[in-house]
């Protein structure tokens, strides 16, 4: 622990700058490309379908990897949202469902 708190390895700084650059390229790149593609009705429909498709593709592997507690939590979230239409309530119930099912060793 002789290293001062504010020291940084310059190679590490290079790595971070590289990671920052590729991440920003992704953040801005998709948006930039869509500015160069004509926004035909078909493209617009694809973009409209994209968010739901991203969510489904992100959540499904998480749900399967997480086992019963994750599946239960996500089902609870969807169920509460469908009935009450309050996202914060849905999230709180999902967290409780995950914590409880793990506490009971599911």
């Amino acid at each position: 622990m002789s290293e001062p708190v504010l020291a940084a390895d310059w190679l590490f700084v290079v790595a971070v700058l590289g990671m920052t650059a590729v991440t920003y390229a992704m953040r801005a790149g998709g948006y930039w490309i869509m500015g160069r593609v004509p926004l035909t009705p078909r493209i617009r429909r694809a973009l409209e379908a994209l968010p739901g498709a991203i969510i489904v593709s992100t959540v499904l592997p998480i749900a399967l990897k997480g086992g019963v507690p994750a599946l239960l939590a996500l089902a609870v979230s969807a169920g509460v949202m469908a009935v009450l239409r309050k996202d914060i309530v849905a999230v709180v119930c999902a967290v409780a469902a995950a914590a409880l099912s793990r506490a009971y060793g599911l």
């Binding site: 790595a15 953040r27 869509m34 379908a49 959540v59």
Partner: protein, 233 residues
């Protein structure tokens, strides 16, 4: 249809901040855990702050720290950058889907603000756009706020070390996926979504079984978008 002009106000930014509150515990917990991981891997405090606030993409930071070695070589650096790119590929699609929302805003404003693009402020912006919101302060305000919270959250984690309990035990790890699911519900309007989501889900699962990792998001989302574009004619 959606040709009302897009503007930005401070009140809109504040509304964006307020919409972040449901996911805040998850963000704080994972930021803190990231700080702990960095401390365990032997990063200095300055290095921890640097990687966390500059990269600002949770999952990719964790994966990059798996690759990290105290003796940094060219190979390790390239691997860290490579896994970061692979994990963050979905940001390409997320950004693309914001084009109809932010397309009318001058680029000198949108491009800097895209640094703050995360799943969270994307979900919030999207949901509000769907409800007719045209104040893009929702996007910027929530993005900057999450960045500040994320940047501060590593500090206690770094110093407290193992004092941060396993977030999974408290169910904190399901906050973001649960929020995703909650926001999916109002996006469902009918047959077009059903078909598109089934395609996305099927392709994502096949990809996940065959290749694993984060490719499933990319292939699944693209398939869902293509099916959504052609469905219901």
């Amino acid at each position: 249809m959606s040709e009302r002009s897009v503007s930005i106000t401070f009140a809109g930014c504040l509304r964006g901040v307020r919409y972040c509150l449901p996911v805040l515990p998850g963000t704080v917990a994972f930021g803190a855990v990231f700080g702990t991981v960095c401390a365990q891997k032997g990063l200095t405090f300055a290095e921890t702050l640097l990687i966390n606030s500059f990269v600002f993409a949770g999952a990719s930071q964790f994966v990059a720290m798996e690759v990290y070695q105290a003796q940094l070589t060219q190979g390790v650096i390239l691997a860290m950058i490579g896994v970061t790119a692979a994990v963050n590929m979905r940001l390409l699609l997320i950004g693309a889907s914001l084009r109809p929302w932010l397309g009318g805003v001058p680029s000198y404003q949108t491009y800097p603000s895209l640094f703050f693009l995360t799943d969270i402020n994307w979900l919030i912006a999207l949901r509000e756009y769907d409800k007719g919101e045209r104040d893009w302060g929702i996007f910027l305000g929530s993005g900057v706020f999450i960045w500040i919270v994320w940047s501060c959250a590593v500090i206690p984690g770094y110093w407290a070390g193992s004092a941060v309990a396993d977030p999974a035990k408290w169910g904190l790890d399901v906050i973001l996926p649960a929020y995703f699911v909650a926001l999916l519900v109002p996006l469902w309007k009918g047959k077009r979504q059903t078909v598109s989501w089934l395609a996305a889900g099927a392709v994502a699962l096949i990809t996940w079984f065959l290749v694993g990792g984060y490719w499933a998001i990319l292939t699944g989302a693209m398939s869902g978008a293509v099916v959504g574009a052609f469905a219901d004619e």
